[in-house]
Symmetry: C2
Subunit: 498 residues, 2 copies
């Protein structure tokens, strides 16, 4: 086979794997948005089979020998060489997974999702506990067979932010505990805006009318995506031209739909900006990391969606939609209201400051579970005590406590820290963007988001996985991760909010 | 390997194939009900990949040698032996398909679906013609490599009603032309009921409220299924506990939603009654044939849903839902209205008599295309001439003519005759059921459908593919297909409709 043919053969194989994975994503999406109850068992086995087949292809001798041969090929261009090297690294890692493990994990998590749903609605952790215990046991096995230095958590974080280690996460969170947590307490104590208008009645269809208008302005195109109701908002990719989001809403909680829609659309715009057509199923065509993904969604949600400039431009429209709720509420009052800082139970509804305490608590639990310092049965008590410690509040039941997140039912351990890291990356990108994009605040105010999206596409999206996170941050912002940008951002913002 | 282990290994392999096929069904369903426009290309390649992988597994040496070995095993029970023999027969047939052919067909039909949609909405056959020509070319190749005696159409019908041949279809349709078509003309001429109330405004949500009530009474359970809007009503199975239907509606055409919902629910009840859990992905757990499938949907739609007893029981509820439309319409008038016989353009909205002319025309076209007596470009003229000949009407554009059906875009040739055969089987089953089920009409009137469903489950559903159609009909009704039952049914019904 000629080198060119080999690269084409590699692309074809990776394309098949992507086809299986994207198909599995469709099944997973349907499971959450439309599947009837009695479909769960069949869906579980089908998703397990697709995972197994994908795993078989990805760890086949054929692909590995092709990659080893291509890895010696000096005629590849930069993108090709990167794809080959990164795929080889991924194959070596994936080969550590046995077929039995992959299949058992898929089957377990599929059952766990149903159990989690039931447990959450009945506020009964016991319903979820046996399957979560099984998942934790599997994750411990996974860390062991993947191998790690230091903490077993390191083995799992690699899936969500390659290269990140517990030592770095601890270092960052030490700074967060030292600087952000006291700052958050200070703001929560002195800044008590009126938020009563946010819990008036906002009919779902009108909320969606406004949310849709905003995400379309951001550049989300409903010919390449759609939005459906789900118990947990998420973004999922089925094809280069089919990236969907889910939303949830409550008529008496204005914040729930809009900011989640902006957030998920931020994820979607990243996916739609990746060079997926040219590099279908290849590293260069794929998102850098979950943490970097989160930088995109957080940027749109907070740096844009919760900014004063944004509301200066959009508030009149919102007032016109809901005159009875907002007619007497000034722009300034509204802006203060959507930026209220108050310890609360539900992570996805938390403000941008207290949010990181939610993450830190989950991180502590995951780390302790992996290190066998606690067991699954200990989670509710551990959770509630940490909420008391870091947020000063204690959940009255597990539905608003440790049952609120879907992640563990998927077997996602090591994911949560990426939410905080994403925010920190977002603030760093935001600081650079303000320097690069002329009349930045004016554009946000006028809802002219295209030059912002263009900046993100050219600086970030187009590279896929090409550069490791700190390299990409350095290329774009001149330095690796530096939490000072996030602290500057929140200090500046809240200095003006009295 | 011991025989028991071999059978388990066979079940496992077939289960994997079923997992791929059911996954593909989810992708196909989503393609029609929710997929955004720009997802089409990716979806096409993904469905092609799943088809290819399923085909690879089904035609693998591993499965065939397992089947050949099991075929010699005398310790298998009746169901096991049947599953093995039937699977072996199917494998031999499927091995005639090359991987390239399967993949090309999947890719072509996926593109063709989009083209058909566009062509239909723009009423422009030219948009669909190139891809349909490609499909017909592929179907001719398919008939050739499958092999056939007599007409090439015989090779394709086998997928939808095994054992059925052009000679038999022609014989049946000769009788239909001789007896049903003149009878239809006579009824259409003398029976002119008022149907104006059917085209008043029936809000979609209230139509659905009534339709849902009826299909739930039939035994369709929304914990094992759901209904979504689609341009073409269909039923699709994703798992033993997840069988979905799609519906379409028009506010000014009462007939469109209800009868299609009953029809599709009839399909769904068949799927849900198959022994799918025990025989997941195996012949015994699968529907006998498309024609037999149609017997189930037609039975519910016509023998039940268009019967006088049914409306005697349900009409008051419908009147209460739509008092402004139906308050002044008597039960008898309504019954006459929904049984009006009138030549019309759209097959899925046709009455039970003219319906078979629609089918016959499609059959003639398919047969002529396969035999190269006509080409795709000739379809519109051929179609319109036959409508003139058999129904006395001529479509004013291809949207109400040869672009109305989705089937050809899927590559389904040989499918249409099963609609008529299904009706004929349904009438034959209906005649037996009336003898077997005490107080049959009274039960229909009271909406007590459970003993009817029980009869179908025990006599028909539970057997899956175990008996060939004529054998099953003989077991259940005492004879093979006999169109006299259908003619008796329509003669008796219309004798009372003046």
């Amino acid at each position: 086979m000629k080198p060119d043919q080999k690269y084409e053969e590699y692309k074809m194989l990776m394309g098949r794997i992507a086809d299986l994975d994207f198909s599995n994503a469709v099944l997973g999406w349907d499971q959450q948005v439309y599947m009837p109850k009695n479909g769960a068992e069949g869906r579980g086995r089908q998703m397990a089979t697709l995972s197994t087949l994908s795993h078989e292809l990805f760890t086949s001798e054929k692909l590995e020998s092709l990659l080893r041969s291509l890895n010696e090929d000096s005629t590849l261009d930069d993108s090709q060489r990167f794809n080959v090297q990164r795929s080889l690294k991924d194959v070596v890692r994936k080969k550590k997974y046995s077929e039995a493990f992959v299949s058992e994990m898929a089957l377990t998590t599929s059952k766990a999702f149903g159990a989690w749903q039931e447990a959450r609605s009945k506020r009964d952790f016991k319903i979820f506990e046996p399957l979560l215990s099984k998942i934790v046991e599997l994750k411990r096995q996974e860390a062991d067979f993947l191998g790690f230095e230091g903490h077993p958590y390191n083995a799992l974080v690699e899936d969500y932010e390659p290269g990140l280690r517990v030592s770095k996460i601890d270092e960052i969170f030490d700074q967060v505990k030292r600087e952000l947590f006291p700052f958050t307490r200070e703001i929560a104590t002195r800044f008590k805006p009126d938020t009563s208008f946010l819990t008036k009645t906002y009919p779902k269809s009108k909320q969606w009318e406004f949310s849709k208008r905003i995400i379309e302005k951001m550049g989300y195109d409903f010919e390449s995506g759609r939005a459906d109701d789900a118990p947990h908002p998420f973004c999922t990719t089925f094809a280069p031209g089919d990236v969907r989001i889910t939303i949830r809403s409550a008529e008496n909680e204005f914040n729930m739909m809009l900011f989640a829609a902006i957030h998920e659309a931020g994820h979607a715009l990243y996916e739609l900006g990746l060079p997926q057509e040219e590099h279908y199923g290849l590293p260069k065509g794929s998102a850098l990391s979950m943490a970097f993904h989160e930088s995109q969604s957080r940027f749109w949600e907070n740096s844009v969606g919760r900014s004063f400039s944004f509301w200066k431009g959009q508030y009149a429209t919102l007032q016109n939609l809901f005159p009875e709720n907002l007619g007497a509420v000034s722009l300034e009052s509204f802006y203060r209201g959507v930026n209220a800082v108050e310890p609360s139970f539900i992570r996805v509804e938390a403000d941008e400051l207290t949010y990181h305490a939610h993450i830190y608590i989950r991180y502590l639990i995951e780390k302790a579970l992996l290190a066998k310092e606690i067991e699954v049965k200990d989670i509710p008590a551990f959770w509630n005590e940490r909420y008391q410690e870091f947020l000063g509040i204690r959940p009255s039941h597990d539905g608003e406590g440790c049952l609120q997140d879907v992640h563990w039912s998927y077997g996602s351990f090591g994911y949560f820290p990426t939410y905080s890291f994403g925010s920190f990356y977002a603030a760093q990108l935001h600081a650079s963007m303000k320097r690069d994009v002329p009349d930045f605040e004016g554009k946000i105010e006028r809802g002219e988001f295209n030059s912002i999206l263009k900046w993100l596409r050219e600086k970030v999206h187009i590279h896929g996985k090409r550069y490791p996170t700190d390299d990409l941050l350095t290329r774009v912002t001149g330095e690796g991760l530096n939490v000072v940008h996030f602290m500057n951002y929140v200090r500046e913002k809240y200095a003006q909010l009295k």
